[in-house]
């Protein structure tokens, strides 16, 4: 009965050897990035203090499923409230600025950068995931952030570059920096948020009446 054991053992060994020889191991930088993504997409709320051109402002992002005005279907998206009362959102049609209730316009470059720096988990995750899925290079560098051992994960091109700092031990997001063209900025992130923060954002977007949060 030796062949009965030897043949499957050969099948396993040959299978692993062939796959390892053909595809090798995933790049370590990509594995660091996927671990950070796994942690990032756990959160639905992200708070931060972003700074562009030396100006700092606090932000809160909530992501979930929202209903557009006059539409029945709910769509996934993210809404951002800045401490100065400005409201940005993306419900699948690009970043928009809410001017007044049920009235929005396309965001300009600065608004887009601000939106990215707000650190909405899925939005940030999309940036990294798109590059990872398509096999584009993602770079992970060890550094220290706020005195903690961190990994800086960078994706994108020279034109649009996104860097996410995460703790080395828990992969928890610490900071994000983003540059698009000549505009660049960074943000310190605190994942998760209490009920008051969420209530403030919902109230600012008048969610109950016009931009309803269906499931968050």
């Amino acid at each position: 009965l030796l062949p009965a054991a030897a043949i499957p053992a050969c099948a396993v060994t040959a299978g692993i050897t062939m796959q390892a020889a053909a595809f090798g191991r995933a790049p370590e930088d990509s594995l660091v990035a996927t671990a950070a993504l796994r942690e990032l997409v756990r959160y639905r709320v992200m708070r931060g203090v972003e700074s562009i051109d030396g100006r700092s402002i606090a932000t809160t992002c909530i992501q979930g499923w929202f209903r557009m005005p006059k539409k029945q279907r709910v769509t996934p998206g993210a809404i951002v409230l800045l401490a100065n009362g400005e409201r940005l959102f993306d419900l699948g049609f690009g970043v928009r600025r809410l001017v007044r209730v049920a009235d929005s316009r396309s965001a300009n470059l600065e608004d887009r950068v601000r939106f990215v720096l707000a650190g909405c988990p899925r939005y940030l995750g999309d940036h990294f995931a798109t590059d990872l899925v398509r096999g584009r290079p993602v770079e992970a560098v060890d550094e220290r952030s706020d005195g903690r051992s961190a990994a800086a994960i960078t994706a994108g091109s020279r034109q649009t570059r996104l860097t996410l700092d995460v703790t080395r031990t828990t992969d928890k997001p610490l900071a994000v920096s983003f540059s698009e063209g000549r505009l660049r900025g960074s943000s310190d992130l605190v994942p998760g948020g209490g009920a008051p923060a969420i209530r403030r954002v919902r109230h600012a977007f008048d969610l109950s009446a016009h931009l309803e949060r269906a499931r968050a």
Partner: protein, 382 residues
């Protein structure tokens, strides 16, 4: 002495010619059906229609639609290897052998998209020839010829011209059956391992091998029995090598099932119930679920007919499992394509088409459906 040399050498040529002549119709039907698929795709290239889910980029290459859908993922794996991206559709959902072969094709300098399409079509020809040999062993030559020709124009075989592993699985399945019948257990182990590394349903070939083993058990020598048991276990063993590899490469042996979840293919105990319950709602509101639902129903009906035709029970069990297991994900999506390696379906069709008129009718309808399925590629996932 010279005379003897001549008389010994000569029969080789007629044997090859005879072999080819006996299979001429298979070559012709394969070429005809593939010409039809390529013509349909060429028409799409010229007209950029129907658009469906495709952007203009998909139509730009001569046979672009044949490299679309999962073909994009297989090419990505061939070039970049595997990476599990959390919460996203990512490539560990795809079994490794086909992209591995694509990588080898790419190493010859042929563009992977072109090489992949060529490879799939050639593998399909090989699958037809081996299927003919297997069917001849199990039934008679007439039925084998009819079954093979009907397989050549079977509606879902448009995927056998695409960058999809179905041609490879079909070939490996037929070879496994043939080697098991012929008691070539070592070769049988190799081909079942190939099938199991190409697609998860390749593991189900355990059933026909087991069937052959049970029927031949008494007449096997002890060493043959050992190799036969080894062949039974080779498929699952080869399949296990994939999560083991993923454990080494991605530090996550469960990457396959996690990726499947992101693709909406996580299996549940009540999945079949959900699929059946959900289909009635989908059929009312959408058109396309009809394709896979009918594919499933027709396949199950033909499997029942295959039993009457005298097909081995284990092959029928494999067919039933091939069709029903994917429903465990709660959806009929792609079930018609998954049923492609259910070989008793073609035996049943050939058995039903004993009369010329019936054969001609089924072949004509099948060809029409093959063309239709090809031109609707941009509209619906294969």
């Amino acid at each position: 002495v010279l005379e003897r040399v001549v008389t010994v050498d000569r029969p080789a040529r007629p044997a090859v010619a005879e072999w080819l002549e006996a299979r001429r119709s298979i070559f012709v039907w394969w070429a005809g059906s593939r010409a039809l698929v390529f013509a349909a795709v060429f028409g799409m290239h010229l007209t950029h229609a129907p658009r469906g889910y495709f952007g203009t980029a998909a139509f730009r290459p001569l046979f672009g639609p044949l490299a679309s859908w999962d073909g994009v993922w297989y090419r990505l794996i061939a070039v970049h290897g595997y990476l599990l991206v959390p919460g996203r559709q990512s490539d560990p959902a795809f079994f490794p052998l086909y992209p591995l072969v694509l990588k080898l094709v790419g190493a010859t300098g042929i563009p992977i998209a072109v090489g992949g399409v060529l490879l799939s079509n050639l593998l399909f020809l090989a699958a037809l020839l081996v299927f003919y040999a297997l069917t001849s062993e199990l039934f008679d030559r007439d039925l084998a010829r009819r079954a093979t020709l009907l397989l050549a124009v079977f509606p879902t075989t448009y995927v056998c011209s695409m960058i999809y592993p179905e041609s490879l699985v079909l070939l490996a399945s037929a070879l496994t059956g043939l080697f098991a019948v012929q008691r070539r257990w070592g070769a049988c182990a190799a081909t079942v391992a190939i099938a199991a590394l190409a697609r998860p349903e390749g593991i189900l070939l355990v059933l026909p091998i087991l069937g052959c083993l049970v029927t031949q058990w008494r007449s096997l020598r002890p060493d043959e029995r050992g190799r036969a048991i080894g062949a039974v276990l080779a498929g699952p063993a080869a399949a296990v090598s994939f999560p083991l590899y993923l454990g080494w490469a991605l530090h996550d042996p469960l990457a396959w099932s996690k990726a499947q979840t992101a693709w909406g293919r996580s299996f549940r105990v009540d999945g079949i119930y959900d699929a059946v319950r959900g289909i009635s709602h989908q059929l009312v509101s959408q058109t396309w679920p009809y394709r896979d639902f009918l594919g499933c129903v027709v396949t199950l009906a033909l499997l029942a007919v295959a039993r009457r035709a005298g097909a081995p029970r284990t092959w029928i069990a494999l067919g039933v499992a091939t069709v029903l297991i994917p429903l465990g994900s709660g959806s009929f999506e792609s079930d018609a394509r998954f049923a492609l390696p259910a070989l008793p379906v073609y035996w049943a069709l050939a058995w039903l088409c004993r009369r010329r008129l019936a054969f001609a009718t089924v072949a004509a309808v099948s060809t029409l459906l093959l063309a239709t399925a090809t031109v609707t590629l941009p509209l619906v996932f294969p």
